[in-house]
Symmetry: C2
Subunit: 542 residues, 2 copies
Amino acid sequence: MTDRTSLPHGADAVPARSWWGWGDPGQALPDAECAELAALVPGAAGTALPVPSIASLELPPVRVSAPRTLAHLVSGAPAVRAGHTYGKAFRDVVRALRGDLAAAPDLVAFPLEERDVVDLLDWASGADVAVIPYGAGSSVVGGVEYRAGSHSGVLSMDLSGMGRVLEIDRVSRSARIQAGALGPGLEAQLRPHGLTLRHFPQSFAFSTLGGWLATRAGGHYATLHTHIDDLTAALRVVTPAGVSESLRLPGSGAGPSPDRLFLGSEGTLGIITEAWMRLQDRPVHKASASVVFDRFPAAVDAVRAIAQSGLHPANCRLLDPGEAALSGVAGGGGSVLVLGVESAHHPVDGRLAELVALARDHGGSPTSGTPAAGGSAVGDSAAEAWRSAFLRMPYIRDGLARMSVISETFETACTWDRFPELYEAVHRDVGAAVRAATGAEPIVNCRFTHVYPDGPAPYFTVVAPGRRGSEVAMWDAVKAAAMRTLGEHRATVTHHHAVGRDHRPGYDRQRPEPFALALRAAKQALDPAGILNPGVLFDPAG
Amino acid sequence: MTDRTSLPHGADAVPARSWWGWGDPGQALPDAECAELAALVPGAAGTALPVPSIASLELPPVRVSAPRTLAHLVSGAPAVRAGHTYGKAFRDVVRALRGDLAAAPDLVAFPLEERDVVDLLDWASGADVAVIPYGAGSSVVGGVEYRAGSHSGVLSMDLSGMGRVLEIDRVSRSARIQAGALGPGLEAQLRPHGLTLRHFPQSFAFSTLGGWLATRAGGHYATLHTHIDDLTAALRVVTPAGVSESLRLPGSGAGPSPDRLFLGSEGTLGIITEAWMRLQDRPVHKASASVVFDRFPAAVDAVRAIAQSGLHPANCRLLDPGEAALSGVAGGGGSVLVLGVESAHHPVDGRLAELVALARDHGGSPTSGTPAAGGSAVGDSAAEAWRSAFLRMPYIRDGLARMSVISETFETACTWDRFPELYEAVHRDVGAAVRAATGAEPIVNCRFTHVYPDGPAPYFTVVAPGRRGSEVAMWDAVKAAAMRTLGEHRATVTHHHAVGRDHRPGYDRQRPEPFALALRAAKQALDPAGILNPGVLFDPAG
């Protein structure tokens, strides 16, 4: 058993990550900033929850040990175990701040090659050790947290030591990439070839290719190729029943897609070790614009027209009045639509003009627009303000969590015909749930992260002061109400945050029962010992 | 038991179809034309195989009878059984012409509503009757032909009585459609709403929505939304274990996609009864052009540049020199690229010009081009000649089959890096197989039906004189060689013709073994009696 910091492999190149909160520990808000933020939320606590020291943490005893041949891959060090206990949801951050680490894995493994993954799974299958596949741990749905309870031990399998681009096929614009590659490292390896995956989730710096694939992550493109699924040409997956390698193909009609069974399987059917990904040439033509609408319904109609136009903007994010005000990009009750187009091949100004014209047809007023060809990303000031707020949001969320302010999001997708009622219902029902739980008047905002010809993917933000010590219970009550509301309006329990453990109630209601039967049977065939991420997608027993 | 022609339901509105050959019996070639065609193939037979009369057919005895409550839905009439024995591959047509109908189903059922499908499946599950889901029977891979052998009876389940558009959501541009809808009837029901599915396979008039979904059919669009998968929002599937209905969503990340398990399941997991489909506005701007290349490799490079440009042409079909000559669109060893763009919303002339410029950059010479805005489909003469030949091809194939001339196709997809070698290998190895089987010099031509950023979908045509009485064995030898060659070059056994029974050897080699385990387990869970399309995708025993 080795301490993580002394592991003799490339995982040491992985940037430091906060064990309790989001991302880079250096960007965590100082206490004073936490208090300043909380002062904007009426009813918030006045002092920040302290961040416990690693030395002060009480971790449960380690119950299992890896066989001698695998010991060099495994760590039981407290800092490592603490950092692999939770994902990064609000409820995870609060529990970590409280030092509540009863669910810590016994061990964390850092495989360096696929053979290690196979050997670790073989050992775990025989030893009744649950295995939690772990990319960079930014799950916000309880995807990396052991809760099932009855296994002899729990191993977190951290793929961060497997982050190389193994092969590039320039002519087919594709690369074979190890699943542990973090966003920045992956892009750095592609850049010399003039290529990019262009998958930029908010967690880009703190999530891995394997995590994106296992959870069907949403990325950069607001239209067309929204999920990582669309960029995937083939997968290599280690299952307890053997290694599954699909043929790399541009398209196929040979039976149900093997890749589509593993995309979204969230570590329950196997561990993705490599993928052939479809890449893009680096865009050289970019242009963006912002459009303000007085009326939100008119803005929604404009976005629908754009989504159905076939113009496929790269960015098409609509902020409702509350979200626009909170992000500081517009006040006065206006909604803001941020449009972006890009191409590696041809000028995009004409396309941006067509998009802006569609927005204008629906009553929008362009506030600015900076079409630019042949240069770096150029955005207008509203777009820039929003992007910078976007990347800062999780750190602000952590700062608010330290002040016991509930600051959390949930996201979905629904068809256009259902959206107006869903939007009203969320404000009404989730608002009521927040009032019931906290006694305070909530902020409930909405933006569209992705849009489709047949509907939007609305992303809701909730902010409300929590009672110290009851933050998790309060949010859980609100989240349960949100899931009920989504279900009642036939909206998906998640568009791109995955199911994990937190979305199980909504997922179980949404999933067709015969499909559940088929999936359970597939799980039983691939993971007969039931060790892979128990509690996710399936019944704990399954 | 009722004769098909007296069934009191909408299925009678289905146009007459040839029981032995392709499509509309009225378009079958007269004997003299068959002979004229065959005269162009050195070594072909001089007289046409006669088309047997229904009365002369020797059908096996009917072994089972439906319960009284279902009898009104079922026919055992010879013409009905004969017409449901085979699909429409060359080997099917030849066997039908010989009167070889030993594999005829005992009964053909014509359900009128989903309840009928459920009841028929319940009966079949209990009575060990194999059920072959049947759309319009245009499978070219043995998808609707019983071969497994050990069931007590065989029921062909013809969905053509369930062809209605049930619901239209104009705002989300979607419709709920019964699976038995044939292409023309489906479009006719959408047209009053200004909408279209725009899925136009070669079999458009003789195939159904359910068939397209079950086989992952390829359609109108040469790029981007190539398969019916991309147009599917939700499925309703009757399985022996219950009805599976997925939530209609524009996108979702909630676990593996339920729809993607049933898309491509080819009737082995359940019977698709309805689907929510994503529709398009009817295009009003269309333009097309043809470009000739002296060198085929340069044409391939041009198509690759177009496929990677993000311009998404609706049509982008490349004919190699042999195919261009056979289709009559170009001679002299030139390759022809047919480009088409369309939009319901904005002029497309600029996009066509960009596409033509890319082709010109790679040495192409535009022969003509008729950009047109605001009108009906306008193509240049080469495009028109090709389209008309395209729809006529299956009838010509039947005419040649009656002259014992092997005239068949196989199709695939591969990445760009592998295509040049694959193209050479097919000409060399499949050519050699034809020579070995027939002793004659074959025609082996190629066109691209669909193209992707990471590779093309090549479609090969083989023409050679067969020996009367040995046509099927000869083609089977050629097909086996083709499957071997595709497999050796890591090309898929099928891009859009499905697996059926004929592609099993290639599919079994291509499919990852752990995925096969998972799929078999899913099949066992949904179809425990093993009655659904036995022999397709799975081991006959599975």
